[in-house]
């Protein structure tokens, strides 16, 4: 049996449960329209008008996401390296030290320039 079929099975259970809950909620709950209920919730305060273009994220988060990609790629290389670490031996260690060292330069640069400061 294909080892990926059980994943489909458990995924289908979860998905089915989600869809079932949403359909059930639509059927069991009351429906009483009220303008205030459909408005955005701001603790009873009248919602202040949104800035032009809707909610915007600060540009800072672009940097966070980019750093995340960089480290994600590093992790993706680290995993196969770790799994066959014993076969690769000393040579594998040296090349990974070089790799981590180089990526660490990028990390140190971002840190030094204040890219890791949050307010």
């Amino acid at each position: 049996m294909n080892p990926y079929i059980p994943i489909l099975v458990i995924g289908a259970f979860g998905f089915g449960f989600g869809v079932f809950s949403i359909v059930a909620a639509a059927l069991t709950g009351p429906k009483r329209y009220n303008r205030a209920k459909a408005a955005a919730y701001e603790c009873g305060i009248e919602p202040s008008p949104q800035a032009q273009g809707g909610g915007r994220f600060p540009v800072k988060y672009f940097l966070t996401a980019m750093l995340f990609i960089i480290f994600d790629i590093e992790i993706v290389f680290l995993y196969p390296w770790a799994v066959s670490f014993d076969q690769l031996g000393l040579f594998g260690l040296v090349e990974m030290v070089l790799f981590i060292g180089t990526v660490f330069v990028a990390y140190a640069y971002v840190w030094r320039r204040g890219g890791l400061e949050w307010d």
């Binding site: 273009g53 809707g54 940097l63 990526v103 640069y109």
Partner: protein
């Protein structure tokens, strides 16, 4: 085309079923990505296309590549896309004005060229051969086989990738980082010290809250001081910079109809 589908018909049954279910879904999502109006819907459909690609990789016995496709593309790259969409404002309409000269012509030429490239590549695919070597490549295990290739035969490209990652970090810093926010900031302790040991204790218990009680309570309406002037520091600096501050004098008590003195006394 007919030969292609015959070929696929000859592959193992579950794989063929998977392909026939997912391939149309994937193509539909890709088309939908171009058609739908909202950028976030587009991004979601793209994420789905990437997941189906990952499933195809896994079906072709490239388990590691398939999972990495989800981790890196769906998890990281698409998250970056979503962040960027939210940076420019999620409801911002697409601008249709052309900023680059000859934009449209270049795009059409590039699209035609890429299409031609794809067709020629797919046209040259050999269909009647039985694929060999997959079992051999996966013999020590998919991950181990990959590792022994990356870290021996392809060491140099692997090390070059780290330089590429530095470039990415550098680019992100240049694009997104403003030096001003990196300036020295007072710590919470220092701020508290300034607040309590400074010249005035007026703000020691915190800044006044926004809104004029009982008349208006929104965050964009400055509080009124006893002399009737609006209190500037009751409003977030962001709102002031955005020019979204309302005039609170219109909610001042002076503009109210007269209230009974008696009820006021009690």
């Amino acid at each position: 085309m007919i030969r292609l589908s015959l070929e696929i018909g000859q592959t193992q049954k579950p794989e063929a079923i998977l392909f026939y279910i997912l391939a149309p879904l994937s193509v539909l999502a890709a088309l939908g990505m171009l058609i739908v109006r909202k950028a976030v819907h587009s991004a979601l459909l793209l994420a789905w296309v990437m997941i189906t690609l990952a499933i195809f990789y896994i079906a072709l016995d490239a388990a590691f590549l398939g999972i990495v496709q989800i981790v890196v593309y769906t998890g990281a790259v698409m998250m970056l896309f979503l962040f960027i969409l939210m940076l420019v404002g999620v409801d911002a309409p697409d601008s249709l004005t052309e900023n680059i000269k000859g934009h449209r012509a270049t795009a059409i030429v590039a699209a035609l060229g890429f299409g031609g490239l794809l067709i020629s590549l797919i046209g040259r695919a050999t269909l009647n051969h039985v694929s060999v070597g997959l079992a051999m490549a996966n013999e020590p295990g998919n991950v181990q086989g990959l590792a022994s290739l990356i870290f021996t035969q392809y060491v140099f490209p692997f090390e070059v990738i780290s330089a590429l990652l530095i470039t990415a970090a550098l680019g992100a810093m240049v694009l997104a980082h403003s030096q001003k926010s990196a300036g020295a900031r007072l710590s919470q302790r220092a701020l508290s010290s300034v607040r309590f040991r400074g010249d005035s204790l007026a703000n020691a218990a915190g800044l006044p809250s926004s809104g004029v009680f009982a008349r208006h309570n929104a965050v964009d309406v400055p509080a009124l001081l006893p002399d009737g002037t609006p209190a500037k520091n009751s409003i977030s600096g962001v709102l002031t910079a955005r020019g979204d501050v309302q005039d609170s004098t219109q909610y001042a008590l002076g503009s109210l109809p007269k209230v009974d003195d008696e009820s006021g006394d009690k």
